[in-house]
Symmetry: C2
Subunit: 427 residues, 2 copies
C-alpha cells in the first residue's frame, strides 16, 4: 500500500509566518529543485505565495459559499477572480468604488485575475475577432462590448488584482494548424502591446503575466514561448491547455514546455486540473495552477480523498458514520459524517456545499503542499512516485470501462463549462 | 432618537461560562423579574439556557447554511429540530444509528424538537384525525403514516432531543368555537397519555413540554392551561398562535395567558415571531420562542436592524460600502459591505445566505439578549419602552399603506409556510 505523505495545508506557509521580511512585488526565488520540479516563493503587494501553489477560483469574487476565513483555514494562499464576470457583475468601476476587489471581498491575500479573454473566446457565435481586439455579446444580457489588450488591463487596474493576465487569443482545442499559428501571432502582437501599455495603466505593484499559446504543437509552443520570454513579463503562463485535447498530449506538452520556461520567473498553467494534471505540472516545473474542479465537483457530490473520489449521493453513505476521510483534518472531516453530509446534500442545504467545498479545496492544497514539502525536504521523487501510485490505484481505475481497458489517460476530459465558467474544459 | 441598548449576544451566557456547576435537567430558576416579565435559567442534559431565549430553527438538523460554530458565534444557546422532517428524512432510526441528533449535526448544546403535529395538521386534505391519533400522507412521497401521542415520543427518544414536545391538536386559525373546544379536549386527553407513557419511552434526561391550545379564546385557553398545568410536564408551551389570527388578538392572548402559566416552570410560545411579537412575549413572562423568520427572511433579502428592515436586493445598495448595520458586530457586518452582500445575492452565491442568516440570527439574539440583560440589571421597563419605540418608528411604518393609515397592528401576518416548514404562519 502506498504511503500517503500527508501535510497540514497551512503549516509552514510563508503567508502564515509572522515577521518574514517582505520583498518587492514580483520578487521570485527558487528555493528547492528536483529535476525540472521546483519550489519557490513569489512576492506580491498582498504578501508571499509558496509555490507550487494551487489557486481556488472565485469567479465573481467568492469561492462559492466560502468566506475568507474558510479559505485561510484550508490553506489557500491566493485566489482567482475573473475580469469577464466581475467586469460585468458588479462592474469594475463599482468594484473600484468599493476600494478594489480585496476590500470588496475582505480578502487580504493575493488575487490573480484572468483577462476575460478565455471566456469571450468560448462565446462561440457571439464574438467577432479582428486584429485589434474582439467584439462580443455577453451571456448576461446580450449587451455588446469589446476586449482589447488595453481594455483588459484597464479592467484589472480597477479590480486592483495582484497578478493581471494579458489578452491572448485562445483557439479551441480542435483548431487547425493555420488557425493555431494565427492565434499565436496575434497573441504575440497583443502581448507586445500589453507590455507597451502596462506601465501607464497598471499600478506599479500589479504584476503582469504573459500567456503562451500553441496547443499541443511543441514547435509552435516553443516559438511563442521564445517571443513572450523576450518581453519583461513578471511571469509566464501556459494557456490553451485542457481545452479538449487528449490528456496524454496535454501532459506531454507540459513535460516538454514547462522546463523550457524562464527559470527566474513564475510559471503558471491556466485552468488545470485534476490531481493527475497537478502532479504532471509540478513534475514539469510549473509553479501555479487554478481550477474550479474542487469547488464544482464538491457541489456535484464528488469528494476527493487519497483513496479516490467518492460520490456522496450514493445510498451506501446513508448510514456511514465515518468522515469523508478519517485522516483528513479539514473542518468537514473533523466534525461531520458522510451520512450527515449526504443528508444535507439530499435536503439541498447550503451547508453541504460549504463543507464539501472546504474538504475538496483542503485536499487540493494537501496534494500540492505535500509535493512542495517534498521538494523542500529532498524527497520529491519518492513523493511524486507515491502520488503516481495513488492516481493509478484510485483515480484512473474509477473511469475503467466495462471492456477492462484502462483508458483514463486517453479519455477526453469531462464536459467543459459554459461561457459563464472561469475554468478551462477539464475543470 | 431612541437609545439602542445593544448587547453582544454571547456575552455572559451561562453556556459560555466555564465552571458553572451543572444542575439536573429540568431545573429552572427565575433569577429576575419585572412585572410578569422574567429572566431565568433552564438546565438540560446539554447545559443551561438563559431565558428569555430565542431559538433558531434547524428543521432538518441544520439552520440552513450555518454550522455549529456559526451558531455559537451568533449566541445561539439552543436550536430546534423537527420530528416530522427528521422522522422522514433521514429517519429517526438513522439518526439514532448515527448517535442521535446532537452527534449527527455536531451540536453540543441543547436541542428542542417539535412533535411534528403542527406540520401534519397543516397537511390539509392529506390527514385524517381520530381520537387516538392522526393518519397522514407525507408531502415527501405521499407515503402513509400515523402520529399518536406515543409515536411522537418514540421518534423524539430516537432523536435524543433535550426538550420533547407532546402531540397536540392544533386547529387552523379560522376554526369554529366547537372545533376549537374539541381540539382542546383531544389535546388534554393526548397530554395525559403522554404523561403516562413518557417515563417508559423518553430517556430520564429528556424533558417533556405540554402544549396549551385554545386560540384567542381566553376562557378556553385558561381551561386548557389549568388542565395541563396539573400534569407534571417540565415546561408548558402556548401552541396555535400566529396561525392567521389578527396580531393584536395574539398579543392580547399572550398578555392574558402568559402571566397565568406556572411560575416555576419554563414557558414557551411556539412559532413566533417578529421582533414585535418577541417583545410582547417577553413582557407577558414568556421564556422561550422559536421562529424561522430570521433565516427565511435573510434568504429573501430581508435584513433586520435597529433602524428597521432593509431589503438588500434594492438597487440603492449597489454601491453602498457600509455594512448592514454599522454598530453590529456579527461576522457579516464586521467584514462585508451591503454592496458586496447584494452582489453575492444577485449571483446566487450561497455565501450570501450564510452571511445574511448569521446577521439576522445575531440580531434576534441581540434583541432578546438586551431584554434579558435589562431584566437582570433592573432596567427592563426602560429597555422595553425603547424597543417599543423602535418597533413604532421603524417596523410598523414599513407596512404603512398609501392611505396613510398605520395598520400594522391589524395587518394579517405574512403568508404562511407550506407543510414542509417548521415555523408557524407569521414566521
Amino acid at each position: 500500500m502506498t504511503e500517503i505523505p500527508r501535510v497540514e495545508p497551512r503549516a509552514g506557509l510563508s503567508c502564515e509566518t509572522p515577521g518574514l521580511a517582505p520583498r518587492p512585488p514580483g520578487s521570485f526565488e527558487v528555493l528547492a529543485q528536483a529535476g525540472p520540479a521546483r519550489a519557490g516563493r513569489l512576492w506580491t503587494a498582498h504578501g508571499p505565495i509558496d509555490t507550487p501553489c494551487f489557486m481556488p477560483v472565485g469567479t465573481y469574487g467568492a469561492v462559492k459559499g466560502l468566506d475568507p476565513d474558510d479559505l485561510r483555514a484550508c490553506g489557500s494562499q491566493i485566489i482567482l477572480g475573473n475580469s469577464y464576470h466581475l467586469g460585468h457583475r458588479p462592474g469594475s468601476a463599482r468594484v473600484a468604488g468599493l476600494g478594489g476587489l480585496h476590500a470588496m471581498i475582505a480578502w487580504d491575500r493575493p488575487i490573480l485575475t484572468d483577462s476575460g479573454g478565455f471566456q469571450v473566446f468560448s462565446l462561440r457565435g457571439l464574438q467577432k475577432l479582428d486584429d485589434a481586439g474582439v467584439d462580443y455579446q455577453t451571456h448576461f444580457d446580450g449587451s455588446r462590448h469589446r476586449l482589447t489588450p488595453e481594455s483588459v488591463l484597464r479592467t484589472q487596474a480597477k479590480l486592483g488584482s495582484d497578478i493581471c493576465m494579458i489578452l491572448d487569443h485562445c483557439p479551441p482545442g480542435d483548431a487547425s494548424p493555420t488557425q493555431m499559428r494565427a492565434a499565436v501571432d496575434r497573441s504575440t502582437r497583443w502581448a507586445r502591446q500589453a507590455i507597451d501599455l502596462k506601465s501607464g495603466i497598471l499600478a506599479p505593484h500589479q504584476l503582469c503575466f504573459g500567456i503562451v499559446q500553441g496547443g499541443t504543437d511543441h514547435a509552435l509552443r516553443r516559438q511563442h514561448l521564445a517571443e513572450l520570454a523576450a518581453l519583461p513579463f513578471d511571469g509566464l503562463a501556459l494557456g490553451g491547455l485542457s481545452v479538449g485535447e487528449p490528456i496524454p498530449e496535454m501532459h506531454a506538452t507540459l513535460a516538454e514546455i514547462g522546463p523550457q520556461m524562464p527559470q527566474d520567473r513564475p510559471r503558471y498553467v491556466m485552468g488545470i486540473g485534476t490531481p493527475f494534471d497537478l502532479l504532471a505540472a509540478v513534475r514539469a516545473g510549473i509553479d501555479m495552477f487554478d481550477c474550479v474542479m474542487p469547488s464544482r465537483h464538491a457541489r456535484n457530490g464528488q469528494l476527493f480523498t487519497f483513496a479516490g473520489r467518492l460520490n456522496i449521493r450514493h445510498s451506501r453513505f446513508r448510514d456511514d458514520p465515518a468522515p469523508i476521510d478519517a485522516a483528513c483534518t479539514c473542518r468537514a472531516c473533523r466534525s461531520h459524517s458522510r451520512a450527515y453530509l449526504r443528508h444535507l446534500h439530499e435536503q439541498n442545504d447550503p451547508l453541504y456545499g460549504r463543507l464539501a467545498t472546504i474538504h475538496n479545496i483542503f485536499f487540493f492544497h494537501q496534494w500540492v503542499g505535500a509535493l512542495r514539502g517534498a521538494l523542500h525536504s529532498g524527497h520529491f521523487f519518492r513523493t511524486a512516485a507515491a502520488f503516481s501510485s495513488i492516481i493509478t490505484d484510485h483515480y484512473l481505475k474509477e473511469v475503467k470501462p466495462a471492456s477492462g481497458k484502462r483508458p483514463a489517460a486517453t479519455t477526453p476530459p469531462a464536459p467543459g463549462p459554459g461561457p459563464d465558467d472561469s475554468g478551462a474544459a477539464s475543470c
